[in-house]
Amino acid sequence: MEASAIEKGQLEGEGHEFLVFRLGAEEYGIDILSVQEIRGYEGVTRIANAPSFIKGVTNLRGVIVPIVDLRLKFALGNADYTAQTVVIVLNIGHRVVGVVVDGVSDVLALTGEQIKPAPEFGSTLSTHYLMGLGSLDDRMLILVDIEKLMTSEEMALIDKAA
């Protein structure tokens, strides 16, 4: 899948590249540049009294990294943890955070015209955190401004003062 991504990226010339992952039946895309690595879900230590979607912290080569389950945050899919469960490790503004998703499917490049503005939805995922909706053939990608989302107060990952 990576080969196709590179090809597409070259074909499109400019335009953003997105890492596409699944949450339940929906496909989401985040800016590939904020992705540090993809790894399995293991050895997470629970943090007391944290919101339920914060699974805890894990040891990523000596760095303590919090793990967030977006399936729980957006109430999508079954939040079960198997050997196939995938964690996308993000690097956002000098902070490292891991995100649990149902699966990583693709890396796609989208041009400006393929990105449509997002309509107003309900409250689970405010449009505030959306970059838009990407359309590629008959697929719809929900493009999330992952940096804005992860640093937001509702994710409770960062001290308010910080």
Partner: protein
Amino acid sequence: MSIDITEFYQTFFEEAEELLSDMEQQLLQIDPSDPDSEQLNAIFRAAHSIKGGAGTFGFTVLQETTHLFENLLDKARHHELTLDPTIIDIFLETKDMLSDQLNAYRQQTEPDSATYERICNTLKALAEEKGQGEGAAATTTAQTAAAGPAASGAMVIRIAGVAADNATSLAEELALFGTVLEQQHANDVLTVQLETATGEDDIRAVLCFVVDDDQITFESAAAAPSESAVVAPAAEEAEQKALEKDDATPPPAVDAAAVPAEPAKAAAPAAKKAASAASSENASLRVSIEKIDQIINLVGELVITQSMLEQGTADFDPVTHGSLLSGMNQLQRNARDLQEAVMSIRMMPMDVVFNRFPRLVRDLAGKLGKQVELETVGKSTELDKGLIERIVDPLTHLVRNSLDHGIETPDRRLAAGKPAAGRLTLSASHQGGNILIEISDDGAGLNRDRILGKARENGLAVSDAMSDDDVWQLIFAPGFSTAEQVTDLSGRGVGMDVVKRNIAQMGGHVDILSRPGQGTTTRIVLPLTLAILDGMSVRVGEEVYILPLGAIKESMQVKPEDISTVTGSDRVLHVRGEYLPLVELYRVFDIPEAQQDVTKGIVMIVQSEGRSFALQVDQLIGQHQVVVKNLETNYRRVPGISAATILGDGSVALILDIPALSRAPQDREGSHTGNHRSAATLH
């Protein structure tokens, strides 16, 4: 210019800073009535090297100030200028000016010209007044001009290992010293015949920022009058002496050169100069703290990997896997040694902190009209760099307090039958896994009545029956000051509580011992490092937590009759006549599948901020040294947790924040920011 000279700025700034701090040390030690010529020479050379460097890099203001300063110093060491305390004061002020100028250049701004002119005028006036008619020479703005009558001489300078494109710019640099008669460049050797009044040392001092000392050789040009009466016969003499000393007792002299901060050894400055920049480079290496922290991190990882391997191979049959197991043993030893060695890189001697006090004490004592002798003990005691930086402010505050409130004026001291000069001792020593820092004075001591009076005024609950120790602790209360009047030094009551808080943040504590009329001793106890913690791991349900070992007083199994309830829900534990609040960790952290029956678990008696409480856990696992990892780097502060660490199996364990746990339960509930689960913890 093909050499980018800005590359060397940093080196120059760092070296110049060291030279200035050396200079200050020397100035403080010098006895004006009988100056030691070695010390004067050392100060002169420091000024001289800075001047040389400043000239090279075009820091004109710095260069000219050092030039004037150097002229005076030169006279002083030739006994043309008689030193007195006022002159030393001016010299110290000049040194401060030089530091300011250096900082200005470091921030790429021009130094303040007003102060520059003021100090120049002071120095010039001093030169005219004390020197014999040579003041005029001081006004020259000539680049690196030599002091005194210039006897020009020609010399041949060879610089080895110079690439062709650098040769021209080096030659240009040399041309600043005088007239280049001839220059040639062959086989990477640049040969310049130079007619100059500048001495070899000066040229060396300038070039040493660009090329290594051993790359340069000097020869007197045959025809010319050999090099300069100017460059200080004294300096050469001193060097000669140093060399002789070197010959006589080589090892100590070399040691002295390696420790530039030991100016007391007479041979040191001279030997240092003789060994020049080369030795200081060999003796130490400047490495950024991030690099060291990275190494510490990686070594921590290595140790964890090693213990994972060890666990993995624990069940192997020693007969069939003998060599693997002995290899594992060796790996374990090596990994531990490596970790210790790496941690020691972060350690710095207390010298770094103590060195700033002679000046502070001298200035303050002068201002207050007191006489104070400062003594420092245990300068080589090592402490983590992070702690060294944070201990400076509290120590400065305590020293100021001692001078301001502790030590009395000379007449009062004489009246009390004490010597006129007060004594202030700073000492540092190791005590187990801690470092003990003491600030003691032989002053008036704390005034119990006045502290109690002031405490009542401030509305603190006190009684006359309080023990002395408890009374002394009162001065750490916020806004507390017993000074009869507020001075600009201390007495505003903003100090001691901050001191105490800072030290508590470093994981240490402060005690005061005081006897009326005999003085006060403040003792600070600090852990050696913040990076490693001695901890006890405990299990609650399926989770493992680390308790700082220092907080644990004892652990015990309790009987049902020792537990009583207060208002139905809060429980207290009765231990040897004391009732301690019982904190159930499974309840605080909402841990599933934990042992809820206190009599079947273990209770740890822990202490923090003077309060004890009982902490209920399921099981003790063992004692470890753990590497402390900040949880806030990537996450946020978690109530009840101070940091995290990585266990031998690679999993993360959280370190308990004992002071936070000791606070009242309602506080803890209030501080929960994640409200999704806190309902379960309410009782």
